[in-house]
């Protein structure tokens, strides 16, 4: 089993060939976006963080920015800083160079002539990288080079019965063929953690599964909050999900049935192949952001209520088991697996179909979120801005 990808100088393999215009903070995000608009194949996003954060909180942001630049889908990176923020542009460049030897450069708005000067300089850098990237030819690689992120958002009762089990079949096929699958959303393991713990590779992984849930519950307690303040959401409940247990028991189907080899922190790159868990929030955009930083080249995303979410770093394949949602949002959703209910096509058959779609998207087929230019980023936070 092979897919066609672009080999990077650090040995990784990308399925897209993007130039990342990376803003260090909010203040440089608009200038970064202007540079990205000038060059075909360049991407950017609004970085709401990067300044006025506590150390531990800032570290999460830094890890995500470094992870984005290191993501195999990125050919090269132009860091765009303002000049006085906590994430110092020249330092970030060095930190990125410590994990990857891909092309990188930076501009600083305060030193390079304001927005227009920085835009001109940054556009030249991005143009040159885009030209080099265009010379690369895709070559076949085996599945051990591919990491699939799994996600659900806007869930309803169909998610746990159809779309998530379909992703589970696809996840098992990925693992069987030597690939890596990330199961995410720690808050949506609550009430189903005993099932995941039974599938842990060893005691250490089992302990980590309970530990990340306890950490989340303690965190909510410390800020005087409750899960019921935000999860399940009003839309989940309108879709028939009554409790977090019901949502979680549906959510974990995405991980399929294989052994859980590792639990990694938010945004961290897994060191194991096969099925791994990433400790992410249930907020889907922030969870996808963490997995893109962790090196996932593409994602499968199930939705019951419907969502337009996409990601600038990786293609996001969306599927639903809710026919009404698919009919209302066909422009956003790639696959309708609702025929599982009528018995017309089985979960197993849809899972194989999704696995084939994953390979097609890895080979270059664009998903609907890419065609619509939907590029959402939400970096996880530990506490409020200071």
């Amino acid at each position: 089993m092979h897919f066609n990808g672009y080999k990077r100088p650090d040995g990784k393999v990308g399925i897209r060939n993007k130039i990342l215009i990376l803003p260090t903070c909010s203040c440089s995000s608009e200038t970064a976006a202007q540079i990205a608009r000038n060059i075909e194949g360049a991407i950017s996003f609004v970085n709401q963080n990067g300044c006025a954060q506590t150390d531990e909180d800032l570290q999460i942001t830094r890890d995500v920015l470094i992870g984005f630049a290191a993501n195999p889908n990125v050919f090269g990176t132009v860091v765009v800083g303002n000049g006085c923020e906590s994430i110092i542009p020249s330092v970030l460049v060095k930190q990125i160079q410590a994990v990857t030897n891909k092309p990188i450069d930076h501009v600083t708005i305060q030193e390079d002539g304001g927005t227009i000067g920085a835009m001109e300089k940054g556009t030249h850098m991005a143009r040159q990288m885009a030209e080099e990237a265009s010379r690369l030819k895709a070559e076949p690689f085996d599945m051990s080079h591919l990491t699939l992120a799994t996600e659900c958002g806007g869930s309803d009762s169909t998610s746990g019965l159809t779309a998530n089990p379909v992703v589970g079949v696809c996840s098992d096929l990925m693992v069987e063929n030597g690939g890596t699958v990330i199961l995410s959303e720690t808050t949506e393991f609550i009430g189903a953690e005993h099932i995941l713990a039974r599938r842990a590779r060893d005691e250490k992984v089992k302990d980590r599964i309970y530990e990340i849930i306890e950490r989340y519950e303690n965190h909510l307690r410390n800020v005087g909050g409750n899960l019921r303040d935000g999860n399940p959401t009003p839309g989940n409940k309108a879709g028939g999900l009554s409790t977090i247990e019901e949502k979680s028991l549906g959510c974990i189907h995405k991980g399929g049935h294989t052994i859980i080899n590792e639990v990694v922190d938010y945004g961290a790159i897994p060191s194991e192949k096969g099925l791994v868990i990433m400790d992410t929030p249930g907020y889907d955009v922030a969870s996808l952001t963490g997995m893109a930083a962790g090196g996932a080249q593409l994602a499968v995303f199930t939705t019951g209520r419907g969502t337009p979410v996409g990601n600038p770093i990786m293609p996001v394949i969306k599927l639903t088991g809710n026919k009404g949602t698919y009919d209302r949002m066909t422009c956003n959703i790639d696959m309708d697996v609702s025929t599982i209910f009528s018995g017309e096509k089985s979960t197993e058959d849809w899972g194989k179909e999704l696995f084939e779609e994953v390979l097609r998207v890895a080979d270059g087929k664009k998903v609907k979120a890419e065609l619509l230019g939907i590029n959402d980023i939400g970096i996880s936070r530990l506490c409020n801005y200071v």
Binding site: G160, N226, L227, R228, G240, S242, T243, I244, E246
Partner: protein, 94 residues
């Protein structure tokens, strides 16, 4: 009978409708090799749950063969099951 609902695990005490059904209508589902039906006592919106085995107040509501939480009142066969009579054991962490 036209199948319009389903349950997942033999130990489940709730099932889910796959079309919207009103009080008095029959929810029909596959049950082992055969079929079974329940007359609904309340309106059940599409993809929501109803009771297929009596559940006493304080007992677990079971789906996927696992607990969804605790029954807030006695729930009998045909009752609509949602947040009004089912509470999480995990959402309130005080």
């Amino acid at each position: 009978m036209k199948i319009n609902s389903l349950y997942i695990n033999p130990s489940d005490n709730v099932a889910m409708v796959t079309i919207e059904l009103a009080a008095g209508q029959k929810a029909c589902f596959r049950d082992g090799d055969g079929e079974a039906s329940v007359t609904l006592k309340g309106d059940v919106p599409i993809y929501h749950k109803f009771c297929i085995k009596d559940i006493a107040k304080g007992e677990h509501v079971i789906k996927y063969g696992e607990s969804l939480g605790i029954a807030l009142s006695d729930i009998s066969v045909g009752d609509y099951v949602h947040t009004h009579n089912l509470q999480s054991e995990r959402e309130n962490i005080d």
